[in-house]
């Protein structure tokens, strides 16, 4: 996979605060096309907030987000989705009352062209489009190996499977950038291994750029080509895994010798 010169995502001096409490201070970094970039840092370092800024759930007070050649002061979630940013959440955010298949299909809602009236009356391109949507959803379901639970309500599935369904929903949108917020939290070693393989496969198979938050340093160093380290809302490290691992400030933050 060759990396083209212009980065896919570029954050420029982002600052975010809640009611005067600073969550993120002056963070800039770039994510190249096709790489797997890991955001790491202790709890409360501002990692999730940063993902929320990237896809517009939160609006940063300062700074700009540049995605795929377009510079924005503020991103809105809907616009982010339209531009090709998909994500999963730290605490699973599936639609609990719906089946696995329906959840995955919602991920494809932006690929739909026929109007709701055409669909309700079953006229025109609606049925043809239905078949395409369903086939694409089934492909994602097969890729992540969750065929057996297609018709199960997601609320009844075990945690690890729900994480996978959420990934399937994000993947169904055929995103350019995939944001994963702790995709392996709460998993045992073999589940983690499986999830890591999926992430690497997605990256290699579809060329999807991935930004992920993960606490397991072993996993991070294993699958990512770029690591950004945050601490107390500031960036303290940025570079290839080996380089970051040797960074004294990062070591201090993780071992707590600085304080």
């Amino acid at each position: 996979m060759s990396l083209s010169a212009a980065p896919l995502l570029e954050l420029d001096r982002i600052s975010l605060s809640f009611k005067g409490v600073k969550a993120i201070t002056d963070i800039s970094f770039a994510v190249a096309r096709g790489e797997i970039c890991a955001l790491i840092g202790p709890n409360g370092a501002g990692k999730s907030s940063l993902l929320n800024v990237i896809n517009g759930v939160y609006q940063a007070q300062q700074g700009r987000v540049c995605f795929d050649g377009e510079v924005r002061r503020h991103m809105r979630p809907h616009h982010a989705a339209e531009r090709g940013i998909a994500r999963t959440f730290q605490n699973i955010a599936l639609f609990k009352g719906m089946t696995v298949l329906d959840n995955v299909l919602t991920g494809r809602n932006l690929k739909r062209r026929s109007s709701w009236i055409e669909q309700a009356l079953g006229i025109g391109r609606a049925h043809r489009e239905d078949d395409v949507q369903r086939r694409r959803a089934e492909e994602v379901i097969a890729f992540l190996n969750i065929q057996a639970w297609r018709q199960s309500p997601v609320g009844t599935l075990p945690y690890g499977l729900q994480k996978r369904v959420e990934l399937a929903r994000a993947l169904a949108a055929e995103p350019k950038l995939l944001l994963l917020d702790e995709p392996m939290a709460g998993m045992n070693a073999s589940e983690k291994k499986e999830m890591s393989r999926f992430i690497v496969e997605i990256n290699r198979e579809f060329g999807t750029t991935v930004v992920l938050i993960e606490h397991d340093i072993g996993v991070v160093m294993g699958i990512s080509s770029h690591v950004v380290v945050l601490d107390y809302g500031r960036k303290i490290g940025d570079g290839p895994p080996d380089e970051v691992r040797a960074n004294p400030e990062v070591i201090a933050a993780y071992l707590g010798t600085r304080h």
Binding site: G97, N109, A170
Partner: protein, 355 residues
């Protein structure tokens, strides 16, 4: 094995889109509809049509309207009756003032007016969540009937704001008899129920449920929240508006704005709680329950000797039982009678096996 599924596979995605996947279900529904359309008008009597079947059908439709908004899209409303009133009075005025307008077109226009008003009162849903919305829908509940009473134009300057039914004629067929009114109501309700079923199984239905289950995630995957919510208000308003017009025209014959008060809104809400939120069938079960239960209770009270239970007391008892049923359903079976029916069906499918 009455309910054998053996050999019934979906070989195309289209087969999965059908109303029912199983041959037995399709056959059952076909027989039921044939019975309702062809046999019932022959064997039913006027009491059954006017006191049971027509109100049952109209309330089912009203329940359906609210269920699309509350059960599927997750937006709570206490203003259903206001939109029923709007539909009834709008349809009345269209049919009164436009020469030669067909009855069905008048009903549809009434529904459209109710839809527009529903959207207007649904606008706050773009900024607020959950039960805050009941204030906006209650505003509709108090404002609309007030306007209908206050401004005589709406009831063609009838002194007490009462409107009557227009001639009930479809394609030259006079449907003014009880059996005719029943067939007219049944036709409209069945058609709209099929449409609703298609909507909730389409992209829009999935978007509604996504917004209901978790709106932040829905926005993040690109579902347009404002459009999705307002469409729910619009379509729900349309269904309620048509239901209101049918309530006035085919059930009561004449109606005044007070017939669409807060109590009626609660009645519609109770239909979907008891019948099952997020279910099409549930509206019919809930409406049947709410029409039949008071009849059953008053018949039971008639069995008590010596007139021990007077009508006022009966009403209080009925109120307490309804209240208790609401609480019991919410605790034990939040998906209502529709879920109980599914349990029953699942057993029949397995019969005679037990596992």
């Amino acid at each position: 094995m009455l309910y054998s599924e053996t050999g019934q596979f979906s070989t195309h995605y289209a087969a999965d889109r059908r109303l029912f996947r199983l041959r037995q279900d399709r056959l059952g529904l076909g027989l039921l509809l044939a019975f309702a359309f062809a046999a019932v008008p022959q064997i039913g009597n006027d009491y059954w049509f006017s006191a049971i079947l027509i109100p049952f059908l109209v309330l089912s439709l009203a329940g359906l309207g609210l269920n699309l908004l509350t059960g599927y899209a997750g937006q709570l409303s206490l203003g259903s009756a206001a939109f029923m009133a709007a539909g009834a009075f709008a349809a009345y005025n269209f049919l009164l003032r436009i020469e030669g307008l067909p009855l069905l077109a008048g009903l549809a226009l009434g529904g459209l007016v109710a839809a527009l008003l529903s959207v207007a009162f649904g606008l706050p849903s773009l900024r607020i969540k959950g039960f805050y919305l009941i204030v906006s829908t209650l505003a509709a509940q108090f404002l609309l009937p007030w306007a209908l009473v206050k401004f005589g134009w709406f009831s063609n300057y009838n002194a007490s704001g009462v409107i009557g039914a227009p001639p009930l004629e479809v394609c030259g067929l006079d449907l003014a008899s009880p059996a005719g009114r029943y067939v007219l109501t049944l036709g409209i309700v069945v058609a709209l129920a099929f449409l609703a079923r298609n909507i909730v199984h389409s992209e829009l239905g999935r978007n509604w449920m996504a917004v209901r289950d978790m709106d932040t995630a829905a926005a993040v995957i690109g579902i347009p929240l404002a459009k999705t919510k307002l469409l729910a208000f619009a379509i729900s308003g349309f269904y309620l508006g048509v239901a209101g017009a049918l309530w006035a025209f085919t059930y009561l014959g004449t109606v005044e704005p007070h017939g669409f008060d807060l109590t009626r809104s609660f009645q519609v809400l109770f239909i979907i709680i008891i019948g099952g939120m997020g279910s099409i069938l549930g509206n019919f079960l809930g409406a049947a329950f709410i029409v039949l239960f008071p009849l059953l209770l008053s018949n039971l009270a008639g069995l008590v000797p010596g007139g021990l239970i007077d009508p006022g007391q009966l009403e209080n008892i009925q109120k307490m039982i309804f209240g208790a049923l609401i609480v019991v359903f919410l605790i034990r079976e939040p998906e209502g009678l529709a879920r109980l029916w599914q349990h029953f069906r699942a057993r029949v499918r397995r019969w005679p096996l037990r596992y």
